[in-house]
């Protein structure tokens, strides 16, 4: 098996599994309990919080644990909207649904939402964001790495542009596809909140975090025992948080893997382009990209059959298209950058564990899979020519 769908979910690292199993067995006390078992659970939770903070070069008391990336994004978007006076949001058109649909929910509560379109390169410009901001803009949301294209958004420059214009909206950054793949620093990013998700960097599912700048105003989405500074009531998922912390520490200690993945991504793309005439990078070469995501466009082919033909050769990846009839759920991202409806877009996403041999085997498997599907699809095109 060659797993190149790490951007969907990366397999948990063995150390992460060990830490999670151990914590689930021994740290069963409720962190809110007054006795020693509660204290042990709290210590483990706070150690994990420090590990997550270190990954973001942030202060541990500014980290709120969540159930994952979606909840972290929702807490930021809905939470800021709940506490702000402004009734306008600026959101990039290529955000994850966690952000886009949270913004959409707010339109029912009287908010206006301005979507900022990317260029054909899948990048949102600071000028476009600044131009969309109005006097009552409460929140600006721009992701750091797009999950379908891998493009890196100029978040720091966007933050500076907002500051230069004197506007004071909250800048939320979905860094779910960036954590573990780009060196992160809350100061350098200039954001007010940052969302991350454990299972994208070999941590567990069901664990994520939101970093919130001190002084930023957020309303909790629900109330209860007021854990996590009152922003996220509910007994903490201690084993998942411990595992998240362990995963954060592992990727932080292995920053050299970033170059390893970038080299392999380039090698994968080069082999695919050589093997498949007509295939092309979905975004122009030279666009800043995260090291783990290769997005390949193949003209005039349905993506999902290619994916299954690839799966039959032991290679697991993802496919998308701009058109609803070609895949389940059209991609708003591919539509936003003008990918033609008829093209298949394949996303092959690497991890720090991917090897050169896997990359080479995947490229030749893709060549075979595309040939198999193209041969079958040719029947349909033949008919088109006749009628």
């Amino acid at each position: 098996m060659i797993y190149l769908d790490n951007a969907a979910s990366a397999p948990p690292a063995p150390e992460v599994l060990t830490a999670m199993t151990a914590a689930a067995g021994s740290l069963f006390g409720n962190p809110s309990s007054a006795h020693g078992l509660g204290a042990a659970a709290t210590r483990a939770l706070e150690e994990a919080r420090a590990q997550v903070a270190a990954l973001l070069r942030a202060s541990p008391q500014d980290i709120v644990f969540t159930s994952g990336g979606t909840e972290a994004d929702a807490l930021a978007v809905l939470g800021v909207a709940g506490a702000a006076r402004g009734r306008h949001l600026v959101v990039s058109a290529i955000e994850h649904p966690a952000v886009l649909r949270s913004a959409e929910l707010l339109t029912a509560r009287g908010f206006r939402v301005t979507l900022v379109a990317p260029g054909r390169d899948g990048v949102i410009t600071p000028t476009a964001v600044a131009a969309a901001v109005e006097s009552d803009t409460a929140l600006v949301a721009v992701m750091l790495v797009n999950n379908e294209l891998g493009t890196v958004q100029p978040v720091a420059a966007i933050g500076r542009a907002l500051a230069a214009s004197g506007a004071g909206p909250h800048l939320h950054v979905d860094a779910v596809q960036a954590a573990g793949f780009l060196p992160l620093s809350v100061q350098a990013l200039g954001a007010d909140s940052i969302a991350i998700s454990g299972h994208k960097f070999h941590g567990p599912k069901g664990a994520g975090a939101l970093w919130i700048r001190k002084g930023a105003k957020l309303a909790p989405l629900w109330d209860g025992g007021r854990q996590e500074r009152g922003l996220r009531s509910g007994t903490e998922n201690v084993p998942a948080c411990v595992a998240l912390g362990r995963a954060a520490a592992l990727v932080l200690a292995a920053q050299a893997d970033i170059d390893h993945m970038a080299t392999l991504r380039d090698r994968l793309e080069a082999r695919i382009f050589a093997a498949l005439p007509g295939s092309a990078p979905t975004v122009a070469p030279g666009t800043p990209r995260a090291p783990h995501i290769a997005s390949i466009t193949i003209p005039d082919l349905p993506g999902e059959p290619v994916l299954h033909a690839l799966e039959a050769r032991g290679v697991f990846a993802s496919a998308g298209s701009a058109c609803a009839s070609r895949t389940r759920g059209p991609s708003h991202v591919l539509a936003a950058i003008g990918v033609p409806d008829s093209a298949a877009v394949l996303r092959l996403s690497l991890s720090r564990f991917t090897t050169p041999a896997e990359v080479d085997a995947a490229a030749s498997a893709l060549g075979e899979a595309v040939a198999e599907v193209a041969e079958v699809a040719a029947g349909g095109r033949r008919a088109k020519g006749r009628t």
Partner: protein
Amino acid sequence: MSAPPVSHAVLCRFGELFLKGGNRGIFEQTLAKNIRRAVADVPGARVETPHGRVIVHAPADRIEDACARLERVFGLVSISSVVETAADVEAIEAAAVTAALAAIERDPARGASFRVQARRSDKRFPLSSLDLAARVGAKVAAATGMPVKLVGAALTIGIEVSSTSGFVFADTRAAPGGLPAGTSGHGLLLLSGGIDSPVAGWLSAKRGLSLDGLYFHSPPFVGEKSKDKVVSLARVLASWQALRTLYVAPFTDVQKRLRDAGPAELAVVLYRRMMMRIADRIADRTRAMSLVTGENLGQVASQTVPNLTTIENAARHLVLRPLVTYDKMETTALARRIGTYDISALPYEDCCSLFVPPHPATAARVQDAERAEARLEAGVDAEADAVADATEKIDLT
């Protein structure tokens, strides 16, 4: 006065079976067998068939589980959760008062008015049906203060008396009707992941067919999720006792050869003719006497009378098309009621649209199809045999 001992049960009523004359015994036996299967996983449930009725006994806290399963048994027209007492007027009166109070407590609106409907199957019972209704009615009125309203009552208390027991109930629920599955013989349903074919299977089971399913899978172009989706649909049908076993036929190779054998616009008809041949073979092995499809007249461009004729020409068995005259909206509404709609609406493709030409023929002729099929090197029969032999069997029970 202490309440006499009572036990809880579900009274099952059947409809068309009365029409069956000399075959009635067989129909009742099949229905009782299907009811036993339906409640087999309800702890403590016990099925009895005294004097031409079916009663499912169960502990009080399992009655609701039993009702949920009996609502899915074809051949039943309605069911009632009942209290069984001795065949004794006082016991019946007490049970009726209890049932009335409980019904009002569940839904106060039903306290507006009531009536009593009584039936005795044993004429030796000392009161006539009308007299029994009047006596019980007086007790219920005294205990609850409700007025009697013979037409349009908010609450109807039902009483049935046999030689040994009285049954008292306050609610009657609809069951699907039709005939007990199996009483019309065995069939084979051509099942896909779409909306139509599960509904076609349900409708034919409702007319007494017992069914197996046959799904044509096209790996690798169609993913595992598409097959899982069809298995989920099959399990919903199995919960209605409409399906026993799902057969999964690997269709990719023959589909490729058929596509290459004929003009592209004929492809859909060629695929479906081959599906019929494969279905014939599975039907032979499962002793099915008919094939059931979700085909419809005019729903898609290729579903024309000439095309259906040419497709049917390849089948040896009777082909039943329960949905042939249904509008899509009618089919969809039934799919929602059956519980297959939400699964069918999942976006995983089956029978890979990759193989379907953009402009299929609307008047394919048998001789054109046969000319294309003659180009298959192995011949249509050997191709169909090979797929039937490679078919996977999934037990749904």
